[in-house]
């Protein structure tokens, strides 16, 4: 157990769309990653920052939650869709970052809407990236959901006969519309959250509380500016 790797605070950030929204907040909180972080061609996965004791890792949004849950990263940023899906007891989410706004919804083909009485369902088949959320949501209504796990392009599933309904993230609704789907129910509103590993918060609480406060200030500053 080398103390140097253990003592560094690791911040996990999500790749892709959200990263562009997260970085202004990270920089406002006073964390500046090394140059390679912004270099598209770099294959590096772990980056040093202007703070000796903070490193940044860049991973898929779903993996942010996993890294944080196991304490491999101490702080992370990910959507509450991911947090809800895994419902890891080792993650706390003390701050809404007010970015990555969207919602998680049930959608079905436009032709089905109206001719279908959800009260009569006993089981349904749903294509989704979120089998956990979906099963829980329908179970709470007394419906057993058979989830088909897809990692993307959920909107294709109904038109190709894989299943009739999907549960997916919706931001503008344009993709759904283009594929002839109608959003019929919102399961939850989604934003990105600051995720903290439980044990890290307990054992390095002063340090972690300091960072929560700085991120909180950053979120507040951007809220005012908006």
């Amino acid at each position: 157990m080398s103390s140097s790797t253990n003592d560094k605070l690791v911040l996990a950030l999500p790749k892709g769309r959200i990263l562009g929204e997260v970085m202004p907040l990270v920089r406002h909180a006073g964390i500046e990653p090394e140059a390679a972080f912004d270099d598209e061609s770099s294959r590096q996965l772990r980056f040093t920052t202007n703070h000796d004791n903070i490193d940044i890792i860049r991973v898929r949004s779903f993996d942010v939650a996993t890294f944080v849950a196991f304490g491999a990263a101490h702080i992370g940023v990910c959507g509450n869709d991911v947090l809800m899906e895994f419902d890891y007891p080792e993650i706390y989410a003390p701050l809404d970052m007010n970015i990555g706004h969207c919602r998680i919804s049930v959608a079905e083909p436009a032709g089905m809407v109206g001719g279908d009485d959800p009260a009569k369902w006993s089981s349904i088949r749903v294509a989704t990236k979120y089998p956990g959320i979906t099963a829980k949501y329908f179970a709470a209504r007394g419906v057993q959901a058979e989830c088909i796990k897809l990692n993307g392009a959920m909107e294709l599933a109904p038109s190709l006969g894989l299943c009739r309904r999907i549960v997916d993230l919706v931001s503008s609704g344009a993709t759904m519309k283009a594929n002839g789907l109608v959003e019929i129910e919102v399961l939850a509103e989604i934003t990105s959250r600051l995720a903290i590993n439980r044990a890290a918060w307990k054992t390095r609480s002063a340090e972690i509380n300091g960072w929560i406060a700085r991120f909180s200030d950053a979120v507040e500053a951007f809220r005012k500016a908006a």
């Binding site: 157990m1 103390s3 253990n6 003592d7 849950a69 196991f70 304490g71 509450n80 947090l83 890891y88 007891p89 080792e90 993650i91 706390y92 989410a93 003390p94 701050l95 809404d96 934003t191 959250r193 903290i196 044990a199 918060w201 307990k202 054992t203 390095r204 609480s205 002063a206 972690i208 509380n209």
Partner: protein, 425 residues
């Protein structure tokens, strides 16, 4: 045909057992599997254990036993007397009182003798508490008991995939003073420090505070569930969204408690600023006494407070505590106040051997002395008397040193003494 015998012995039992469960469709795939394992090609299949089970090998198995004994010795030195409950109990008793929380984690099996359902212990605290309320009901209070044993759970958790692991702990029954909680906390940190575990911290929780606040605020059952959900995840956004149902003022109080998670002095200052009244204030009394007693007796021990944590504390009725070590994964142990099935006030502590063993920085170096065949037995006895571990060669070899290395020995007996072997390749 030993194999055949084995099957014949087992199958009537299976038939009996499953007929009890009214499951006549169950045929005997077991027998087929056993025949297949006759084949040497199925070595991997033989090695495979059920999820969450593992064989502990040398030297780790001996190390675990040593550490467990060291902890028990420390507990014994503070007057905690050892008890040894059985692995199996009647479900009805095992899951009573503090045991109820482990219901979902308890393996059950039918006792063919009494025809009653039995549970395999998933936690030892309920057993020790039962002993205190039954067989030791006349023993003088406060009663100090200690225990060490293996427990079995239906599911591993995210951080602990093991379904079987060791618990070592103490219970202090029949005392309702913060001094008892302080004694238990410092007993644990002292014992863990003695094992060489460093950078420890203790997290204190008060799982009764939120329910007391909810009572004072007159919240409905539904609101409490939504609140619990948000607080369990320390989800500030979720909590803020409850303002419509439980009121902005109440949300602000919980938000402050959430933000107070952290070093004890900061948390207490912010708790103080809330000026809590009623039952919530009473709940905080014991916590304040414990914090000040620990800061006085062990000023260097980092204390953190978490005033809203509830998960894992379902049967607790007062201050609870969790032992962490910096950089370690998960908890070394947990404990806290509860009420026994006979309504006695009690507090206790359980250390989890898997996390404790992982947190111990140094493993002892093992030295083994090879005694070539025909070394007089008396010689090796004398060496064992002064602390050597001796391994006897059973037959003469042409190269004793090579034989010693092959048997993982670090030393060899030659020229009338023990000489170290050069490092193995």
């Amino acid at each position: 045909m030993i194999k055949g015998c084995g099957i014949n012995v087992i199958s009537p039992f299976l038939v009996y057992f499953f007929s009890v469960l009214k499951c006549p469709d169950y045929t005997a795939p077991k027998a087929q599997v056993m025949n297949e394992t006759n084949d040497n090609s199925n070595k991997a299949d033989k090695a495979l254990l059920p999820a969450g089970m593992s064989d502990v090998l040398p030297p780790e198995a001996a190390f675990e036993a040593t550490i467990s004994e060291q902890l028990m010795t420390q507990f014994g030195a503070f007057g905690f007397d050892r008890v040894k409950p059985p692995l199996l109990e009647f479900e009805q008793n095992l899951l009573r009182g503090p045991g109820l929380a482990m219901s979902e984690q308890t393996f059950r099996l039918m006792d063919p003798v009494s025809q009653r359902m039995m549970g395999l212990r998933a936690d030892m605290t309920p057993q020790v508490s039962r002993i205190a309320s039954t067989r030791l009901t006349n023993a003088p209070r406060p009663l100090r008991l200690s225990y060490a044993g293996q427990i079995l759970r239906i599911k591993g958790t995210q951080l602990r995939a093991e379904r079987q692991f060791g618990q070592v702990g103490v219970e202090l029954i029949g005392a309702n003073t913060p001094l008892a909680d302080t004694e238990i906390i410092l007993l644990a940190t002292g014992a863990l420090t003695a094992l060489g575990i460093m950078n420890m911290s203790v997290d204190l929780c008060l799982p009764t505070l939120v329910p007391a606040l909810c009572d004072d605020m007159d919240l409905s059952g539904e609101d409490r569930i939504a609140l619990r959900d948000a607080l369990d995840r320390k989800d500030a956004a979720d909590l803020a969204s409850l303002a419509d149902t439980i009121g902005q003022d109440n949300v602000t109080i919980f938000a402050k408690l959430l933000a107070a998670t952290g070093p004890a002095e900061d948390a207490l200052a912010s708790l103080d600023s809330l000026n809590l009244e009623g039952s919530a204030k009473i709940e905080c009394g014991a916590l304040l006494s414990i914090v000040s007693a620990i800061s006085e007796q062990a000023p260097e021990l980092p204390l953190t407070l978490d005033l809203i944590e509830n998960r894992g504390w379902e049967y607790h009725t007062g201050v609870t505590f969790t032992f962490f070590t910096r950089g370690g994964r998960g908890e070394l142990g947990t404990g806290g106040r509860y009420i026994t099935s006979e309504q006695e006030h009690a507090t206790g502590l359980t250390l989890f051997m898997d996390t404790v063993l992982r947190a111990i920085p140094k493993r002892p170096t093992v030295t083994r002395l090879f005694m070539p065949a025909n070394t007089p037995k008396d010689t090796s006895r004398k060496l064992r008397d002064v602390g050597w571990v001796t391994v006897h060669g059973l037959e003469e070899t042409s190269d004793d040193k090579a034989e010693a290395r092959r048997l993982n020995c670090t030393h060899i007996y030659e020229h009338g003494g023990a000489s170290p072997l050069a490092h193995m390749k």
